[in-house]
Subunit: 180 residues, 2 copies
DNA sequence: GTCGTCATGTAATAAGTTACATGATTTG
DNA sequence: CAAATCATGTAACTTATTACATGACGAC
């Protein structure tokens, strides 16, 4: 995808919240934001360099132990501005990528023997996912105080939870249709 | 995305349903399947060539009018097999790309003045989208007969509809939270 | 002292977008 | 006869994945 460089803005956003290393940034995609975007360190490190050349970010060198140097990146004024501009720009829609749905699209016979295993595989996955997200929400937002302090984060998690609930009920609906 | 060549399987699936040209295939992404994947003709034409070299598909030349030649592609036995194998393989999860949610993630102050316009922009879009999808469903699947004949298609559309409903109620939920 | 994690990079390849380029046919 | 659509392709570029490569630090 030669897209609109969304990763750049994600990194700016993450760095705006807290100055951190490329390694830290890469880990961010393991939870929360990972529900809606992903990136590997091999994509992040070169991009950070380019962003620094573009004066969007800068870094300081911190030494851990004796030798290990790490680069802690932070936003410049230009980076701040660029990020705000992105937030204000209209959001582009679409881009859902779901391989299971892709497959379903091609199964036009409701009696296909493939359906039952495919669906139960999905149910298993999405049930686990839902449980995991709900646990995550409870852990991160136990009271309203945490929600207030991280409103955006909470909304995104809630969206992921709603998505999974919707997915699950859609799968159930399919099962019911199949039973008739 | 150096992914798992999902487009290849989509093209195989579409060609399995009906032999058609690259141009036709490109148009398929304007509706239905476009809810879950997209591709341009500039990606499709070269891929068709490679798929033909790999003996997954073959083509016949049809002449339209006096001069215009079009290549009508169809599956080979190998292509059939490759497609069936894909259907049977486990589906990989994740890959939702939603720029609006990405932005929300970074708006951690519930009082941000950006929120209201962003949300109403989204409501407008998703309401329109929902209406469009529902109209599409009614047009393509007016009775149970059509659903039976194109079960997979109907499920995918239903999923898109459920997705939009979920999105809408999530946005409403946000509005309610904001009013307090 | 080794195993897991921290930490940073590059290279090769694949996938996807945008722009360039051309020409025929159909519809109004 | 002009505009929309049909039809096919290439080129340049960006984005993303997988694999290769190295080494330090911390905990047990």
């Amino acid at each position: 995808m030669a897209q609109k460089n969304r990763l750049k803005y994600i990194l700016l956003g993450l760095l705006k919240e807290k100055k951190q290393t490329g390694y830290d940034l890469a880990k961010s995609f393991d939870s929360d934001i990972g529900e809606f975007w992903n990136a590997n360190h091999s994509q992040i490190y070169p991009l950070l360099k380019r962003m620094e050349q573009a004066s969007l970010i800068d870094h300081e060198l911190d030494t851990v132990g004796e030798k290990l140097e790490k680069k802690t990146y932070f936003l410049t004024a230009l980076g701040q501005q660029s990020f705000e501009d992105w937030l204000k720009s209209p959001s582009e829609m679409g881009g859902a990528h779901d391989e299971f749905i892709l497959k379903l699209y091609f199964i036009n016979d409701a009696r296909s023997p493939l359906l039952s295993t495919m669906i139960s595989e999905q149910e298993k996955y999405h049930n686990a996912k839902l449980a995991q997200l709900q646990a995550q929400f409870k852990a991160k937002f136990p009271t309203d105080k945490e929600v207030q302090a991280n409103f955006g984060h909470s909304l995104v998690l809630r969206h992921a939870i709603e998505r999974e609930k919707g997915y699950r009920s859609w799968l159930e609906e399919i099962n019911q249709t199949l039973e008739n």
